[in-house]
Amino acid sequence: MSSYIEPIALREAESANDAIPQRVYPTGMWVALGGILMFFAALVSAWVVRKGLSTSELEGRLELPRRLLAVNVCVLAASSGVLEVARRRLGAGDVKRFRRSWYTATALGIVFLAGQFLAWREIAAAGVYVTSNPDASFFYLFTGAHAIHLAGGIVALLLITWRPMRHLTMATATQVAAMYWHFLAAIWMGIFVLLMIASR
């Protein structure tokens, strides 16, 4: 399992001869991130309109587990930072420490998902479910959609360290994965701020 990253130079050389230029992968990721950004923007837009059309002041009330959500933000931000550290270590040729940092970032991502699950449990324990009120529906929708995207990111992070990519060099694979990961961290921070402002 750990034997393939070591001869990075060999793989980089092999992939350099590949027919697909490496620069297309970050470009493809930018396009995908644009699509995901629009998806979340559409959700936020729908939420804003729904709140504006609310006929009752009580309709949109939702007590959020603020402290737990704030901890989750910190965990995801830490994961993003550690992932960047891992990339730098790979760039410096320190494969062993790269691997350690990469796994730490992945583990922090899993901790974040567990934290989100706890937040759902806490809200559900207070008797607030998806259909309870529009704010609750949107909370579950935001966090659920983000969690699905993040779970996909975790799979990608694990795949990068578990087996070689077919056409990507290690540097490109980590770059593209890091772009996606940082983007998801930024999206969650944006959603968190919006939720906090709305639930004041």
Partner: protein, 74 residues
């Protein structure tokens, strides 16, 4: 020089399209949507305007990034 003329022509065509199509782009061709929006009250109408703005900002940002990159890499 030729690329300058091309950019000017593209901008002129874009401007022409915007001005010609602006009246039809009122987006109120759907009578039901119009009635709903009109009946939603001042708060509802403001919410609709904000919702449209929220959709507009990332779309414009993406378009701006692509256009800026194209322009810098040409």
């Amino acid at each position: 020089m030729r690329s300058g003329i091309g950019i000017a022509a593209a901008l002129a065509i874009g401007f022409l399209f915007c001005t010609i199509l602006a009246a039809h782009a009122g987006a109120q061709g759907c009578a039901m949507c119009y009635q709903n929006a009109a009946a939603s009250g001042a708060k509802g109408q403001a919410a609709l305007r904000h919702g449209i703005l929220i959709l507009l900002i990332p779309a414009l940002a993406i378009f701006g990034c692509i256009f800026g990159r194209m322009f810098s890499k040409r």
